[in-house]
């Protein structure tokens, strides 16, 4: 992932821009919006998202809404499509936009999905409209010679996003619904083991509710299959300054940190996310209540600048990245 080491702010590219709405269409229970935003389309890589201001110039809704990018196309200089559920005042406002309306967008934001070096067998697991970012990923994986299988699921048929595209483009596509209105009755996780075996999966990419991501990670770890998860934490800014979208993630040095899902994610290695501790501050997380740097315990033995270095366990990797606050998987 070359993007990892990119210095935030090092590129003088335009991240925030005005985009003209091309289409808003209803897709079952969701809405898909296509916006002309050449700068975002040109730089987009699968897994990244846009931050959209809602409510117009004098809005009372201050927080940007973050949406995974579902598709980019070259028409009109470059368009970006994202999928959302109109469940609150901000998303309902978005759903009411019409062609030629102008939106304030920031993007592409976040770190993209890493792509395997070799042509391996990839299983893409999506819950609800969490499948949206998996389709540009599938295109990218196929262009690299990877096999792509889909496992999609939701509560009901109208909440499964992209089943037709998955069936048309992937080697295999399994769909589950809780009410049995499409595909197999049950949960995604009921079918995961079987699909892994049939598809001879080497790596799993997953996006959906936190509970699903946790279970997919747990099941896959039994077979030693790496899982890359795209998390959907609620964000206020999407650009790394507000510190609201944090979750506990284990770093390369073995230390748990509260990292920002917007700039350190939204893609994380599933086995590094402490799923059971989301919504808490784990007692052993860097800077948790009662946490003490080793420097204070060892008194005068180390210099004043060794605080963060001493926080690492002995023998751990000591690269400069290892001590970064908010370093993700």
């Amino acid at each position: 992932m070359t993007d990892r080491d990119r210095e935030p702010g090092a590129d003088p590219v335009q991240v925030q821009m005005r985009g003209t709405v091309l289409t808003v269409r209803r897709v079952d229970a969701y809405h898909a919006m296509t916006v002309v935003a050449p700068g975002i389309a040109a730089r987009f890589r699968a897994g990244q998202f846009v931050g959209v201001a809602v409510g117009g110039p004098d809005t009372s809704m201050l927080l940007r809404r973050a949406f995974s990018i579902h598709d980019v196309r070259p028409d009109h200089g470059g368009t970006v499509e994202f999928v959302f559920a109109a469940v609150g005042p901000g998303t309902r406002w978005l759903a009411e936009r019409r062609t030629r309306d102008v939106l304030d967008l920031a993007g592409p934001l976040g770190r993209p999905f890493p792509i395997p070096r070799d042509p391996v067998s990839c299983l893409l697991v999506g819950g609800g409209y969490g499948s949206a970012p998996l389709f540009p990923l599938a295109d990218r994986l196929r262009s690299r010679g990877c096999q792509v299988d889909f496992l999609l699921g939701a509560a009901s048929a109208d909440r499964v996003f992209g089943a037709q595209t998955a069936r048309r483009t992937a080697r295999s596509a399994v769909v589950t619904t809780e009410d049995g209105s499409m595909g197999i009755r049950g949960l995604i996780t009921d079918r995961l083991t079987q699909v892994i075996h049939e598809a001879r999966t080497d790596v799993i990419y997953s996006c959906g509710p936190m509970g699903m991501l946790r279970q997919v990670t747990t099941l896959a770890s039994r077979y030693d299959i790496p899982v890359l998860t795209l998390v959907e934490e609620s964000m206020a800014c999407g650009i790394g300054v507000c510190m609201t979208c944090v979750l506990p993630v284990v770093g390369e040095d073995g230390v748990t940190r509260m990292v920002r899902s917007c700039v350190d994610g939204p893609v994380f290695h599933g086995d590094l996310v402490r799923w059971d501790d989301i919504g808490t501050i784990p007692f052993d997380a860097l800077g948790a209540p009662g946490w003490k740097p080793r420097r204070q315990q060892q008194a005068a033995s180390s210099g004043p600048d060794d605080g963060a270095a001493a926080a690492r366990p002995a023998g751990a990797a000591t690269g400069p990245r290892a001590e970064e606050q908010g370093h993700g998987g």
């Binding site: 201001a53 809704m61 300054v241 501050i281 740097p293 606050q325």
Partner: protein, 321 residues
């Protein structure tokens, strides 16, 4: 630009009065992809503490009408990582750095001031005695004039003599002027106001508080009238003390409102979340607002709303060509 936007942060001159508000801009790095961080008056960093701090559990945020509640709890890397990584980056970009500090005890505040005084290149220190998202809800130092003065004295004693010390005040007090007076008497070079107001939201679906920390700090345009009132009251009582005004500023017009109440500088906070390039936009808009009124110098309008109307007309007419 015809308008002279220079202003004074204590004895330090800034090219313009637009700053970031602590906690809304990190240490400037993330905002550099949206605008040149050296172009605004200064970057006020997120409050730094002695050690690393994980903050409070999630959910940490709730959107409210024209505002938001946050309960971050001062998550940050600690002073060592800040001095090693964040500050050098900010200075390398040519930005002016106002470093916000927060501590759980008077000694912690004092040690932070000492550590920052050893580091070259800092423009000023902002002492955050009023974060509502810590164990004591900011009650200990922000609401008691004696306790506030003790912190300021300790910081002033350890801070380099030429480093301006500003104290960030909470609006959640019975009389903000009493706290302001105590801080200035203890050696504060200026005051920053306002910090967030303590608020709360309950999710009527889950029937429980939205924030994991139950209460949080309310910010955004919803609180701007409170900021204007606080700045007004303190400016009236202490007309010679420079004020960094903040609280719901969204446009150049809003910035001008705080300046008219008495702020010599204006910080942009929650609006950055909505519009990451807000600082540079507000700066441009403020310049336009002043030019449109025929005002040549920013310093002519600081606290102007306190003057009787006739005096205002006389004073401004001298500047109108």
């Amino acid at each position: 630009m015809a308008v002279d936007l220079r202003t004074k942060l204590g004895h330090v001159e800034l090219p313009n009065p637009i700053l970031t508000a602590s906690g809304c801009a990190g240490a400037g790095r993330e905002l550099a992809q949206f605008f040149d961080v050296a172009k605004i008056g200064a970057i006020v960093t997120k409050s730094v503490m002695l050690g690393p701090r994980a903050g409070r559990p999630t959910p940490r945020m709730a959107e409210t009408p024209s505002g938001m509640l946050n309960s971050i709890g001062l998550q940050g890397p600690g002073i060592d990582a800040f001095l090693r990584r964040d500050l050098p980056w900010l200075l390398s970009r040519g930005a002016r750095a106002v470093v916000s500090i927060a501590g759980g005890s008077v000694d912690e505040f004092a040690e932070l001031a000492a550590r920052l005084s050893d580091a070259a290149g800092i423009t000023a220190i902002e002492v955050n005695i009023s974060c509502p998202n810590v164990e004591d809800r900011g009650q200990v130092f922000a609401c008691d004039p004696q306790a506030a003065a003790t912190v300021v004295e300790a910081v002033r004693a350890r801070a380099r003599y030429d480093l301006p010390v500003f104290v960030k005040l909470s609006p959640d007090v019975t009389d903000i002027v009493t706290i302001a007076r105590a801080c200035v008497a203890a050696g504060a070079d200026g005051l920053s106001m306002i910090n967030t107001l303590l608020g709360m939201a309950i999710d009527t679906e889950t029937l429980r508080p939205v924030l994991a920390g139950v209460t949080g700090g309310l910010s955004g345009p919803a609180i701007r009238p409170v900021a204007v009132r606080c700045i007004w009251q303190v400016r009236k009582a202490l007309p010679d003390v420079p004020i960094i005004g903040m609280g719901g500023v969204r446009t150049g017009r809003d910035a001008l409102e705080l300046i008219l109440a008495g702020a010599a500088m204006v910080s942009i906070g929650t609006t950055i979340f909505h519009d990451p390039s807000a600082c540079i936009r507000v700066l441009r808009e403020l310049d336009e607002e002043l030019a449109r009124r025929g005002i040549e110098r920013l310093t002519d309008v600081i606290g102007l709303a306190h003057e009787p109307r006739t005096a205002q007309g006389r004073r401004l007419s001298g500047n109108v060509r």
